[in-house]
């Protein structure tokens, strides 16, 4: 055993501290971003009073939450109740240790980074289940169980898509996904050039779509926000929490949002690699820190775009029901993700050109969408509501009679027939 490496510990502690501060700032910006974006969608102004454009509103929120009384239900289990938020937050934070912001800019690079990310992020379920169970509220229990069912189900397509990526890159290191990798298997040399030239979303569109949807479900965001649905289970596992402990849940939720968005960007949209090298864009040679800074900025920009997409969904969609959610996960996403995996394996094994992947999976995606839409068409049948007209009865009264189809337009009922 080597002697204890104090330098390593110091760097790790500093790195973790820096990472946490950075993430906390990101969360603050995300809450502002979400509220402003929702406000734009809903034709409101959003936060506008605290600081310029309401930029300090998240800070004010933090102060408010810290100042609030931390209430615990009398009959709840005290230690478990207080520890549940931490159990949710810690995995959400630990995931970030191995996620690179730029080439080399990572707290602890790991060869099995992808595996680590998938494994750690699953742990948060325990905290949610515990929070639901120990809150001594039936709504919390419902929410906790919903969370467990949902998160476990949607973990599977994520893992399978990540496996497909691992097959393509022949590595589980997140840095290799971006910068490229070269593996020798037997006689074959597999060279993968990294995502600078062509993002994985173009190679594996099916995987990208599955990952995005399953990731959205993993976050519990609209339309998959069934485990803390306000109108049904009134906040689910978070129902009984207030003040700082609720804030911890909140923090964890936004950590996770950021993780999923960052992973989407890393795995499918080229991470920090610019479309072409920054040197050629700016025309001069750049120092290493400049390249890194540009990389981080580009990475964050793309991540915020993806998060913006999540917020957009939130402003648009109603919520699914639990059976529909599970059916969608198990009947559509999981089979599709396995198709994606097998396709990837075939393409790699038989050394087909890479464009075979999109060539097969895009029609597959289109066919799925078409089938879903057709199934829905049968179900919708918007003609079920028709406009009846008034007519005189023989005995002098009035009655309503169904009209001939031609009179729809006369009635001025736009949208009635289509």
């Amino acid at each position: 055993m080597n002697e204890f490496n104090w330098t390593f510990v110091a760097i790790a502690v500093l790195g973790l501290f820096g990472l946490f501060s950075f993430l906390a700032t990101v969360v603050l910006s995300l809450t502002w971003y979400e509220r402003k974006m929702l406000a734009r969608i809903q034709m409101r102004v959003g936060p506008s009073r605290v600081g310029p454009h309401g930029l300090l509103q998240p800070v004010a929120d933090v102060f408010k939450l810290m100042a609030k009384e931390d209430v615990r239900p009398d009959v709840s289990s005290k230690s478990l109740f207080w520890i549940a938020p931490v159990l949710v937050l810690v995995p959400a934070f630990l995931v970030w240790i191995t996620i690179p912001f730029a080439d080399g800019l990572v707290v602890q690079p790991q060869d099995l980074g992808l595996l680590y990310v998938v494994a750690i992020s699953t742990l948060g379920i325990v905290g949610l289940l515990l929070a639901g169970y120990t809150s001594a509220s039936k709504y919390s229990v419902l929410g906790g169980i919903r969370a467990a069912a949902q998160l476990v189900s949607y973990e599977i397509p994520i893992i399978v898509v990540v496996l497909a990526i691992a097959i393509l890159v022949q590595s589980l290191d997140l840095r290799d996904v971006i910068t490229g990798n070269e593996v020798v298997i037997g006689e074959r040399v597999i060279t993968f050039n990294g995502q600078g030239a062509i993002p994985f979303a173009a190679i594996m569109p099916l995987g990208a779509v599955i990952f995005l949807i399953a990731g959205l479900a993993e976050l519990g965001r609209t339309p998959f926000d069934i485990h803390h649905a306000e109108s049904e289970v009134v906040g689910g596992p978070f129902l009984e929490y207030s003040g700082a402990h609720w804030a911890v849940f909140f923090l964890a939720e936004y950590f996770n949002t950021f993780v999923i968005a960052a992973l989407t960007v890393l795995l499918f949209f080229g991470g920090w690699s610019w479309p072409s090298p920054p040197e050629s864009i700016f025309g001069t040679a750049l120092e290493e820190w400049q390249t890194d800074a540009l990389g981080v900025a580009w990475f964050l920009f793309k991540t915020y775009l993806v998060i913006g997409l999540f917020f957009w969904f939130r402003g648009t969609y109603p919520r699914l029901r639990i059976d529909q959610l599970m059916a969608f996960g198990w009947q559509i996403l999981i089979p599709l993700s396995f198709v994606n995996l097998i396709l990837m394996a075939i393409v790699m094994f038989y050394e087909w050109p890479l464009w075979a992947m999109p060539a097969i999976s895009v029609p597959l995606l289109a066919a799925t969408a078409y089938l879903a839409a057709r199934r829905n068409d049968r179900k919708v049948n918007t003609g079920s509501v028709t406009l009846y007209r008034r007519q005189k009865r023989a005995d002098g009264g009035n009655e309503l009679v169904p009209p001939a189809a031609a009179t729809y337009e006369e009635a001025g009922a736009r949208g009635a027939g289509n």
Partner: protein, 381 residues
């Protein structure tokens, strides 16, 4: 004096057929999706509802008893507070009942003003319904859109009656005061905005994949059963029963207006929702015609300041946004009614809730309740 029967306590445990025990969950009166202070107890087998008990009365103010001790013009203010989402429609029923009892002729202009305001109120009420219904399902945005449009209607109400919601504007024999001079222009420009607003929400919500999945085939009730329960309004028409008080027993000037009534066939939640969207569009058509037909003239017949109807009984009703709102008025010839019974449509629409809920999921419970569009102010009175 008859004895009250012993209060049965709701069962706390039900052993279901696969060896488990159902969970009783209390929803309301503070639950965010019970539209006021409605409370239901649901027995759940995991997420499925196996039994339900409704509790009302948290907003009971003894209105009907109060009516007996107020003069008629004071009762109008109390009627505003029954169905507090469609105030004009409530007032109309009361003044219609008194006018019927006193055989009063109401001037045409007053009738047209009443119809215009009532139909606008119907649109406002349906907009609230659409917004809250979407909110029950987790869609945040439509509620903001519909409340924006409703606010424009309420601004017009404020210009007309002086109040956004508790108007106290209709009088026995007419209306309180004439409308503002540019009323027709205001209404016409408002109608254009409402049309656009309704179209916007319709496009955003009605045919969306998730929305249809959540509402199609949920809480189906057929016409016979609906009528048996006494459902009225959109809930009855969604089940295919063509009954609308404005057509069957035309009151006010509805027989001079040309409009259609949407009737559903499926009797499910989607039909109940979409019917109201179409109804709001029909109301726009009605208001357009009424504005054209309205002519200058008196707005009030001569009535004693304190109305004193003759002895007799009268039943007056009208098609409120929520259904057949009726008033049964027994007068003994005094300044206040001897008995004034209100038939609140929400009260009846809420009755079959247990039958509708059983077999559905918890998440559907709020959607089903939302589709009935209840207002607790009139359920409890």
């Amino acid at each position: 004096m008859p004895e009250l029967p012993a209060q049965p306590t709701p069962p706390t445990r039900i052993d279901n057929d696969h060896g488990g025990t159902d969970m009783w969950i209390n929803m309301g009166p503070q639950h965010p999706a019970t539209h006021g202070v409605f409370r239901m107890e649901l027995a759940l087998d995991s997420e499925l509802i196996v039994d339900a008990i409704s509790h009302i009365g948290y907003l009971h103010r003894g209105s009907e008893r109060l009516f007996e001790n107020e003069i008629y013009s004071q009762i109008i203010t109390l009627f505003d507070r029954l169905d507090y989402v469609s105030n004009f429609n409530n007032e109309l029923v009361l003044v219609m009942a008194v006018e019927k009892l006193m055989s009063l002729e109401v001037p045409d202009r007053a009738e047209y003003i009443r119809v215009i305001l009532c139909e606008l109120n119907r649109i406002a009420s349906h907009l609230v319904f659409i917004g809250t219904f979407a909110l029950d399902m987790g869609a945040l945005t439509p509620s903001l859109y519909t409340f924006r449009d409703r606010e424009k209607i309420l601004a017009l109400f404020e210009a007309t009656s002086g109040a956004r919601m508790m108007h106290n504007y209709f009088r026995v024999g007419g209306v309180k005061q004439d409308v503002v001079d540019d009323f027709p222009q205001r209404v016409n420009s408002l109608l254009g905005e409402l049309e656009r607003g309704i179209d916007e929400v319709d496009q955003l919500l009605s045919h969306g994949e998730v929305f249809v999945e959540r509402t199609r085939g949920i809480a189906v009730i057929d016409g016979e059963t609906a009528l048996d329960w006494g459902l009225t309004g959109a809930c009855l028409r969604a089940s295919g029963v063509a009954y609308d008080v404005r057509v069957d027993e035309p009151y006010s000037v509805y027989d001079r207006l040309d409009f259609a009534v949407p009737i559903g066939t499926a009797g499910d939640t989607w039909d109940r929702y979409y019917l109201r969207v179409l109804e709001a569009r029909q109301s726009i058509i009605i208001v357009r015609q009424a504005i054209q037909q309205m002519e200058p003239g008196p707005i009030q017949t001569k009535v004693r300041a304190i109305a004193r109807p003759p002895k007799g009984e009268v039943y007056a009703h009208a098609e409120n946004p929520r259904g057949d709102f009726a008033v049964y008025l027994v007068s003994e010839g005094g300044e206040s009614p001897y008995r004034l019974k209100v038939r609140p449509p929400s009260f009846c629409n809420l009755m079959p809730l247990r039958d509708l809920l059983i077999g559905h999921y918890v998440a559907d419970a709020v959607v089903i309740l939302g589709s009935l569009d209840i207002v607790l102010g009139e359920v409890d009175r």
